[in-house]
Symmetry: C2
Subunit: 103 residues, 2 copies
Amino acid sequence: MPNALTALSALGDPTRRAIFERLARQPRSVGQLARGLPVSRPAVSQHLQVLKSAGLVAVHAEGARRIYSVDPHGLGQIRAWLDRFWDKALDAFRAEVEKDPPK
Amino acid sequence: MPNALTALSALGDPTRRAIFERLARQPRSVGQLARGLPVSRPAVSQHLQVLKSAGLVAVHAEGARRIYSVDPHGLGQIRAWLDRFWDKALDAFRAEVEKDPPK
DNA sequence: ACTCAGTGTAAGCCATCGCTTACGGTAAGC
DNA sequence: GCTTACCGTAAGCGATGGCTTACACTGAGT
């Protein structure tokens, strides 16, 4: 059961972000992803495993190929985590600026 | 000039998330942060450096102490990055579910 | 049945990174 | 001026993690 923390950690890696962004444009197979990236196919497969366990992507078999697509679940958890700090951060920032205005 | 990628990478580390969450509740000094965390003070200082260069926290001197507070700039960039995929991810997910409903 | 495309996993290597200890440098109090 | 608190940085170490190569498995086509 992935939480927002695992999703954030998963997207902390640049290669995984690249994979995720490509899947957001269009669902693809593992080989398709690997062909457009500077890493090997097994590397892509491992990254997909991480993204999947973080609730960021989903798979469905299509013959021998595994088609990966974006799963909004993981993004939702990151967004929820973000929103917990959004207003608070703005308020804290404003208070800080008042007492010590930036140069 | 930090972008959304550096902010995401910065928050990929659990310790940095802990530091950031504490700063969101209230601005603190380096020593205060270190006292509530299972790592040494220099470690906290290094993490703060990363968070600062990612636009996630800001500093202002108060005597010999450096008070760190949350900077909403970094959060805003993450949010912008997230919103770029939000609708797209939802649509793609719905289309995927239609053609291959989950078990 | 055989071949081939497509994929996941294991093993291992190497760079990155988070952490510690040690040191130097600044600001406040006596 | 001296001491003390507070902090940043350097150096070094150990572990994590991303990558590659090699192997095993499944499904489609002939």
